[in-house]
């Protein structure tokens, strides 16, 4: 009798543990966040998952802002062996959803009420045919300028309200021996600047018409020429060693006081924070001239692929962990972005983060929350790629604005 009881107890103890082991509770995630600040932010998610009992299988593929990772993903999809989750942006999620490759997160989404707390413009990318297929981790804003406060104070500068002011400022900065604009010469970085230039030249309605709807008259208009004109002037503000420089090395130039400003999305803030700098004390954050009130967004999401039943539980757990309020807070505090849920309190966020969260709500009301062209939230990859070609060539080769505009229209036509 005793033996049976002992056996039963053992079976209960080990049996329960055994079945958990047998389910191999792990989640495999492909991403390209290998740089310091980004990896630290992602680690928060890893730790959360481990607390839930899931092992995190990390499959990083660095390089190209995700280009290499996307290649690897293609191969794995072709082999019928997709990962459980993959970091994806914007239209790419839609592309894969269209092919029927993504899973369904609706069970967890409806249970936790995601529809109510995630802004509509973001849901547009996280959902396909009404189903949730990806979980957003953050909202980035791309029309920021980050400035070294010491240089600004020394030269008695204030955030420029117009582009002309920015140009005047940069002359002063250069004369004082600093580099006005720290820039990394990679196509996506030039495209990020272009986001702001177009927004500044034409305002949110123009941006929507030209960059999202690809209206030909808007793309070929004088306003677009003005945007290219801004790019040209910006080119004169950078140092000669900019080609192929990584974005965070450019940020380092601002942190170290070699350069005064960087036009970059708010992931740059993560670098400042990691270096121990404080907003308002060591660095300033303000919108690119004449883009106040508009919010060009870019959101990182983890798309969940259709996998076997055993892995589905892990995916749902991951999705839930991503959307968890305290995770959203912790992750975004480290990364420099703001939570993808609007019901997270802004108390712990710094001044720049608070501004971003407030601006988001305003932009949502005024319909000026726009997907970033540079980061795949305005148009599909094929069109975006062709447009970026024109932008980067114009920036690097000094093509006159009228000609660049013409090339832009031609490129969009050819890529459609």
């Amino acid at each position: 009798m005793r033996k049976t009881v002992i056996a039963a107890v053992l079976a209960a103890a080990f049996g329960a543990g055994g079945s958990a082991l047998a389910a191999d509770k792990s989640v495999e995630v492909v991403h390209w966040w290998t740089s310091g600040g980004e990896a630290a932010a992602l680690k928060v998610l890893k730790d959360d998952m481990e607390k839930k009992g899931y092992a995190w299988k990390d499959s990083p593929v660095a390089g190209g802002g995700g280009d290499q990772a996307r290649t690897v993903l293609r191969a794995r999809v072709a082999a019928g062996n997709p990962p459980d989750a993959m970091q994806m942006l914007g239209f790419i999620i839609q592309d894969y959803a269209e092919e029927g490759l993504l899973g369904d997160l609706t069970p967890v989404a409806s249970k936790e009420g995601w529809d109510k707390v995630v802004p509509q413009p973001i849901q547009r990318f996280s959902k396909y045919n009404g189903r949730w297929v990806a979980a957003p981790v953050n909202i980035h804003r791309t029309n920021w300028i980050w400035a070294n406060k010491k240089i600004f104070d020394q030269l008695k500068l204030a955030p420029p309200k117009t582009f002309a002011e920015l140009v005047a400022m940069s002359d002063k900065i250069r004369k004082a021996g600093y580099i006005p604009l720290a820039h990394g010469g990679q196509p996506w970085q030039e495209a990020t600047i272009f986001d702001s230039a177009v927004l500044s030249a034409g305002g949110p309605a123009f941006y929507r018409k030209a960059m999202i709807e690809l209206d030909e008259s808007a793309l070929g208009s004088k306003t677009m020429e003005q945007a290219f004109g801004q790019m040209q002037k910006l080119r004169g503000m950078v140092d000669p060693n900019f080609p192929n420089r990584d974005w965070n090395l450019a940020t380092a130039m601002v942190i170290n006081g070699k350069a005064a400003m960087q036009i970059m999305g708010d992931w740059a803030k993560g670098e400042f924070l990691k270096a121990g700098k404080k907003p308002g004390v060591d660095f300033l954050c303000f919108q690119y001239p004449a883009t106040e009130g508009s919010f060009t967004f870019n959101t990182d999401q983890f798309a969940m692929f259709k996998v076997g039943k055993e892995q589905e539980q892990g995916q749902l757990a991951l999705a839930s962990a991503i959307m968890d309020k305290s995770f959203q807070e912790a992750f975004n505090l480290a990364k420099g972005s703001i939570p993808a849920r609007i019901d997270v309190s802004d108390a712990k966020f710094d001044a720049c983060g608070k501004k971003s969260m407030a601006d988001l709500k305003v932009a949502m009301k005024n319909n000026s929350m726009l997907g970033s062209f540079a980061h795949g939230h305005a148009v599909r990859e094929s069109v975006k790629g062709a447009m970026i070609d024109v932008v980067t060539k114009a920036f690097n080769s000094g093509i006159p604005p009228a000609e660049a505009t013409r090339q832009l229209v031609a490129a969009v036509k050819a890529a459609k």
């Binding site: 280009d67 990679q186 060693n241 080609p243 790629g385």
Partner: protein
């Protein structure tokens, strides 16, 4: 040599013995059929379709080829391929031959020097690209070094210069491959019959003439092999460009291999990627077919 004669074997075993060579060869042939030719056929098919993100089989004739040719990046890529290709092959041959001739002069430390010239081939493209990227970085590398030595007017900023960046790829590429070419030429030089040379020099020919008139022509097969291998490396040079310049500044160092890669994998333009791939293969074939021809002819030469 004819198949072995086995007079006293039963029929089945004799059949096996007769066909053993073909049987042994068949896995390789099958692999080649599927993994080389099959995939090429698939790619060619794709190049005639409207495929974007996933393969679809809407045939559109030569549309994708036209789109590729009209793309500004392809223009740059082709131009770069010729600039890079001819310089890469030409310099590797010249330097490889020069080094081989020099090393052949009964040099002390020949083994050590050979290792020095040969080792770059052992490095992967990523390592080569990273090392050279750093050396050619104006703020940290050669430029800073020479300026630090006092020559403050020295600039070497090719890598950030749109027009000159492709030549940095040449530098890194030649550095990597010329040692291998040198080894090939050295082997060839060592294989030349002494008697011919002794006879020539006793006839009063000067060293340069001996090299030009006798040695170089005898090295012709090696030139051919070297050109083939170098062309193969040049066409494959995707990783080197990515590691060294990232394709930039802008897309100034674009090559057909990077163009194909970007359009197939990043831009969801499978049809265009396939068209550019087919054109790459045609270029390769244009170099390969003459080599094949010479290979097959050599089969009829008497073995020595």
């Amino acid at each position: 040599m004819a198949a072995g004669r086995t007079p006293s074997m039963p029929g089945a075993r004799r059949w096996l013995q007769r066909n053993l060579p073909k049987i042994v060869l068949s896995p390789t042939v099958a692999a080649s059929l599927v993994f080389v030719y099959g995939f090429i056929a698939w790619t060619t098919l794709l190049s005639f379709t409207r495929s974007k993100t996933i393969p679809n089989f809407d045939l559109v004739g030569f549309l994708q080829y036209v789109r590729v040719w009209e793309h500004p990046r392809w223009q740059v890529a082709i131009h770069n391929l010729f600039a890079f290709g001819t310089l890469y092959i030409g310099l590797c041959l010249a330097i490889g031959l020069l080094l081989a001739i020099l090393l052949d002069q009964r040099i002390r430390l020949e083994g050590a020097l050979r290792a020095v010239y040969l080792y770059p081939m052992a490095l992967s493209f990523i390592v080569t690209g990273t090392a050279w990227k750093w050396m050619l970085n104006p703020g940290l590398g050669l430029e800073k070094l020479v300026q630090g030595w006092g020559w403050t007017g020295f600039t070497f900023d090719w890598i950030v210069n749109e027009d000159m960046a492709i030549y940095t790829v040449v530098i890194a590429g030649v550095w990597q491959a010329s040692g291998f070419v040198m080894a090939m030429f050295l082997a060839g030089l060592r294989g030349i019959d002494d008697e011919i040379l002794k006879a020539a020099s006793m006839d009063g020919a000067s060293a340069p003439r001996i090299y030009l008139r006798i040695v170089l022509p005898m090295l012709r097969p090696i030139f051919v092999s070297a050109v083939v291998i170098l062309a193969h490396l040049a066409i494959k040079s995707y990783e080197l460009v990515v590691a060294l310049t990232g394709g930039g500044p802008g897309y100034a160092t674009e090559l057909p291999s990077t163009f194909m890669y970007v359009h197939t994998f990043t831009r969801n333009e499978l049809g265009m990627g396939a068209a550019s791939a087919v054109m790459m293969l045609l270029t390769v074939a244009a170099i390969m077919v003459p080599y094949l021809y010479s290979e097959m002819r050599s089969a009829h030469r008497p073995a020595h």
